[in-house]
């Protein structure tokens, strides 16, 4: 039984594509067969983040037009067994695809893959509708900022209206130090408002940006990094494993802050 999961957020720039690429890689590492579908027609990025841009030959549009078979359009990641990408067309816009088209594609993929992860575009217009129409589950990405959280709330409402009730939250780009100093919303604040189960917390880390620019998902590199672990944990939780959340604050601990806490400062 394959799972069709949409990664969405409402607001742009909160890390949908970064999460999609890393989650795909993490699930592939857990020996799952994963198809990543870029639903951001006209503004595709997923191939860049995966470092697969130069290997894209056909796109989803070609498949729908009958110009190639689905299997030909799928780009296989050579670094990780089981990771595939279905690229979006860059020279078209969102209107060139309909929800029915997306359903056709995902249903076909469902026959051969354990996970189909759809990277949704920002916004709540047709592109978003295309991305969610065949999904059974949704991962909401937000950052601890009011605008992002507000948009996430709106999107959750829309998903619920469409009958998608398995909705999970990933809070991205958390800065534990700022939260501690009361300068940033905490994960609890976000959860209290959105009231959906938490699937993962990813700390703000420059290595995520470096990995993005290199076109190699962080998960493919060193496993000791906290963001890498955070992505791996999300994959394990999706698989049904109970994994405790990483205490981000303690990871940043140093002697001084520990002493300060000891003396009640």
């Amino acid at each position: 039984m394959s799972r069709i999961i949409v990664v969405t957020s409402g607001k742009g720039g909160v890390g949908k594509t970064t999460v999609t690429s890393n989650l795909g890689a993490a699930l592939a590492k857990l020996n799952r067969k994963v198809a990543l579908v870029d639903a951001d027609f006209g503004l595709r990025n997923l191939d860049l983040l995966l470092g697969l841009e130069e290997r894209v030959v056909y796109t989803a549009i070609d498949v729908l037009a009958g110009e190639c078979r689905l299997a030909q359009a799928l780009v296989k990641d050579k670094r990780l067994n089981g990771l595939f990408l279905l690229p979006a067309a860059q020279n078209r816009n969102k209107e060139s695809v309909s929800p029915e088209d997306m359903k056709k594609i995902t249903n076909a993929l469902a026959k051969g893959y354990d996970y189909i992860i759809i990277d949704s575009p920002a916004g709540i217009e047709l592109g978003f509708r295309n991305a969610i129409c065949s999904a059974q589950e949704a991962l909401i990405i937000t950052t601890p900022e009011i605008a992002a959280v507000r948009d996430a709330d709106r999107v959750i409402g829309l998903l619920e209206a469409e009958g998608i009730h398995k909705i999970y939250l990933i809070v991205n780009r958390v800065k534990p130090k700022m939260v501690e100093d009361n300068k940033m919303m905490s994960v609890d604040d976000v959860l209290e408002l959105l009231a959906i189960p938490l699937m993962g917390v990813i700390p703000d880390d420059e290595r995520v940006i470096i990995a993005t620019n290199k076109g190699e998902p962080l998960v493919m590199g060193d496993e000791d990094y906290i963001p890498t672990q955070a992505f791996m944990n999300i994959a394990k939780r999706l698989e049904g494993e109970k994994v405790p959340f990483i205490d981000l604050l303690s990871e940043q601990d140093n002697i001084i802050s520990r002493l300060r806490r000891m003396f009640g400062g």
């Binding site: 507000r150 948009d151 709330d153 709106r154 959750i156 409402g157 829309l158 619920e160 209206a161 469409e162 009958g163 408002l193 009231a195």
Partner: protein, 270 residues
């Protein structure tokens, strides 16, 4: 009919501003005796507001959150008013109702084209029956309130609840969410969005919440925004109209300490 909006920057212009209380329409489900009716807003009410897809969205939210007080496969009559509906739209509507275990059976309309579409779609059609029904908006709304609307979900950003009676929300009213009631509003959770009670001018209406963290409150034609630094309290509070405008008080004591003065149209201390 399309109204040309006057886009004037002149503050002193005496263009009449439509009062908040009149911007009011929503698709709604009503029970009369054993029969259920789905009422569409009429064309003038819907004007400029929403496209059909927005209306369907609204209906889906409404049916999902609403307390289900009907039996599975209950049949529903659609009061389509003067709306023009084609076969496709009726089909969509029937599908949405289906999800809530309701079954579209009859279409009541004043438009010939809608009647033809309904007949084509295989529904019973009743034409021009509207005038005999007390359900037409405007007839029953001024005096009697509809049954309270129980809403069992969080009202999220972008969701609008509008109801001809009182609204009771089991959950939070989130920022960006909107509840508009002709009667009172009770939020059994946090009120962080916008609530408008007494939306047809009833100054007696109250808004109660377990926790008041609203962005804006409206009662009748008065508006209050949240203070810059709201005082933290764990008490549940009630908002009402007093001499100085919309006020907040502790909800537990309110019934004992306040009474409504019909003479002044405000709540006063007992």
């Amino acid at each position: 009919m399309v109204v040309d909006p006057k886009l004037s920057l002149d503050w002193s212009s005496d263009t009449p501003v439509s009062p908040l209380v009149e911007r009011y329409s929503q698709i709604r489900l009503k029970q009369e005796g054993d029969s259920w009716f789905l009422v569409l807003p009429n064309q003038s009410e819907l004007e400029g507001k929403s496209s059909w897809s927005e209306l369907w969205q609204e209906l889906k939210h409404y049916l999902q959150g609403r307390e289900k007080s009907w039996q599975p496969r209950t049949s529903v009559s659609l009061l389509a008013q003067d709306q023009l509906l084609d076969v496709q739209q009726l089909q969509t509507l029937a599908e949405i109702l289906e999800e809530a275990e309701l079954c579209l059976e009859t279409v009541v309309t004043t438009r010939r084209q809608t009647a033809v579409a309904a007949a084509t779609g295989g529904y019973c059609v009743e034409q021009n029956k509207l005038s005999q029904l007390s359900l037409t908006p405007g007839l029953d709304t001024t005096t009697t309130l509809a049954e309270p609307l129980y809403f069992n979900q969080t009202v999220r950003s972008g969701i609008e609840l509008r109801h001809e009676g009182s609204i009771i929300i089991f959950g939070d009213l989130n920022p960006g969410g909107l509840a508009i009631a002709v009667g009172d509003i009770f939020v059994w959770g946090r009120l962080r969005g916008l609530a408008h009670a007494g939306a047809k001018g009833n100054r007696k209406a109250r808004i109660m919440a377990l926790q008041m963290e609203f962005t804006q409150l409206r009662i009748a034609d008065l508006v209050a925004r949240s203070p810059k630094f709201p005082p933290k309290t764990d008490q549940s509070e009630v908002a009402f109209i007093a001499g100085s405008g919309i006020c907040l008080a502790k909800a537990v004591d309110f019934a004992k300490t306040h009474k409504f003065s019909e003479q002044y149209g405000i709540w006063i201390d007992r």
